[in-house]
Amino acid sequence: MRISLLNEVIVTNKQAKNTPFIQGFKDGIPICLGYFSVAFAFGIFSVGQGLYVWQTILVSMANITSAGQLAGVPIMTMGLPLVNMALSQFVINLRYALMSISLSQKVDSSVRTIDRLIISFVNTDEVFAVAFSQKQKLSRYYLYGLILMPYIGWSGGTTLGALAGNILPVRVISALSIALYAMFIAIVLPPAKKNRAVLFVVIIAAGLSIMFRYLPLLNQVSGSIACLICAVAASAIMAILSPIRIAEADTNSDRTNHTSSTSTKGVN
């Protein structure tokens, strides 16, 4: 009797301790694990390109963007013009502007401007996706919890990759180079399987991207700009052909629970 009562107290204590911050922290752990391998691969890549270990770590801590960093490091090491760096980062990372707009629709009134300044620094694809899988509006405590582990995973994975990259055999490095793309497939394929419109977006984007790579004239367009053109075109085409119900936008990805809570109004 005593013991069960004690247990109950402990259990309720635990539940009480599950504050928004702790909940966000827990939700960030899988992202952290996922980042680790990708950041590790980036660390290897960057040192291979000729950056020092400490420079590689700084790049990751200042950017937290896989594709942007992969494009940016060669621009540094080849000593290309600074405008190339600015343009490539702008184009590759422009999708984050769209995600930030989406996320801004999802936060509650506890999120002040100073919080927005800090949280947006770690608004990555995966942080964004997990944030959107929550059915309720998000407080600043949840968001601070959520970004903590991914940031540590990204920086820590880069550090280990940069340090171990010198020791690892070429075969292993080649194998790790596919990790990033495999992760993208893992993000895109499950929702494409369930949602016909997302599938068409994927097919159109892939088709355009292949054309930009292999067709004469089109293959003169630099990779990152081609990527943005493909993405904007595919999304715009499907936004016209198959506009979503507003409720879908609230639970942005299909991997996430479809408990469309707040706004079913505005559908017409």
């Binding site: 950056l51 420079q55 540094m76 769209l98 194998a175 793309y181 497939i185 984007a205």
Partner: protein, 104 residues
């Protein structure tokens, strides 16, 4: 990179541009977006961006097109069964490693 000063200039531009892109819309956009087109566009854009970044670049990511192809197939199969990011990435890496043992 030998030249420390120019490293920091590159880094400042790289990090600065990336941060501005994320920060400015998040700080400025405090109203709910009403446009159905814009909402649809925002809903589709992550999938479109990730797809365009992956295809066809994934084929040239490893030491051989064939190992990359094998890794991609495994990643697709694991993703189809909705495995998490980490097992999908690990499975693709392992596949590339094994295939290259035979190929190269």
């Amino acid at each position: 990179m030998q030249d420390i000063t120019s490293f920091f200039i590159y880094l400042a531009i790289m990090g600065g541009v990336t941060y501005m892109i994320r920060m400015i819309p998040f700080v400025l956009c405090k109203e709910k977006i009403k446009s159905r087109f814009l909402n649809s566009f925002l809903y589709y854009i992550p999938y479109a961006v990730l797809t365009a970044m992956t295809i066809p670049a994934i084929f040239y990511s490893t030491a051989s097109v064939y190992s990359a192809l094998a890794g991609m197939v495994v990643a697709c199969i694991l993703s189809y069964f909705e495995k998490h990011l980490l097992p999908v990435a690990a499975g693709a890496c392992l596949t590339v490693f094994v295939v290259e043992l035979f190929l190269l």
